[in-house]
Symmetry: C2
Subunit: 162 residues, 2 copies
DNA sequence: AATCGATATGTTATCTTATAACAATATCGA
DNA sequence: TCGATATTGTTATAAGATAACATATCGATT
């Protein structure tokens, strides 16, 4: 599965984390964006796994770490990360994942397991926007795209699915 | 724009409506599905335009027609329509539109105007699922797909957009 | 170093979207 | 007509998201 993140297979996840965190840190420095405490913590929380987290999941994590926070704290940090392509919102499940192809993401595409909520980002699917042709024909200007497929990952199929 | 619904151009909308309603009626009869009063009314409301409606918009319409209803009434009818492919949920805006290619829809694709909320369903984009290859490679079984692009339609661009 | 504008955070309250739970009713085949 | 199944009615509440405004921080400029 060369064109997809390792979400559904065993891999060295600490490499995923450190690579993404380093990239974001570097990008923020380069572009004059402020990777504040709250934003960095939220990114780190998202990077802990390939599971999509709801805004309130993130919030709860912040709170259990002694960072007493209300919903806007989480949403603002998530909005920042999404706005700059460091994270994505998975619309179908109203949840967020860290971006695993930072810097290359224009139209992310996801495989979402409805059982374990693991989300794999597809590199190949992201290359082509299937709506582009129609959009041009009707002079519709696309600003943002989401391509999402929900189903069962191999491991959850084995367990008969949920 | 041959491969897209007429959502963003002038057209005989009453033909859209009657065609879709006739098709759904026929399909329900053929498959033994019950197109009850509530379900038919909700479909008719969605068919009135190519604008996506939230569940609570639909609910309000039902109520102004003297059909006193609570949220589950609207959600159940919408769920029925979506489940059988007679309507779609537009995830990005948590709203619903009637299907304009009934019977051919496996992976609908939408162009969503963020200003007027008009939604055009693309036929061509629907043919190919860009995630299929990756899904097969990692033995992920896709059950449902959504492809959505948000932006500005031509007419809202002219008005400088919102 | 003090000031100022811009950006980010803290906090309260509220809004929107969606569903759980259970009782009551309608439908359809045996 | 009975009984199983599907649908509706109703109340309550869960889950997701944002408006509004006060406070604090950052970073450039004097």
């Amino acid at each position: 599965m060369p064109d997809t993140t390792a979400a559904f297979i065993q891999h060295d996840h600490s490499a995923c984390q450190s690579k993404a965190l380093a990239y974001v840190t570097e990008q923020c420095a380069a572009k004059g964006l402020r990777l504040t405490e709250a934003r960095r913590r939220v990114l780190e929380i998202l990077l802990e796994s390939h599971t999509a987290l709801g805004a309130y999941d993130v919030l709860q994590r912040l709170n259990t770490e002694g960072y007493s926070a209300q919903p806007p704290i989480a949403y603002r940090a998530l909005d920042f990360l999404v706005e700059h392509g460091f994270a994505h919102k998975v619309e179908r499940i109203s949840a967020f994942v860290a971006c695993h192809f930072p810097g290359q993401c224009h139209a992310p595409a996801f495989l979402i397991c409805r059982s374990c909520r693991t989300v794999a980002e597809s590199r190949s699917a992201r290359q082509v926007n299937p709506l582009q042709a129609d959009a041009q024909a009707m002079k519709f200007s696309i600003e943002d795209t989401n391509v999402e497929a929900e189903g069962l990952c191999q491991s959850c199929q084995s367990e008969q699915g949920a």
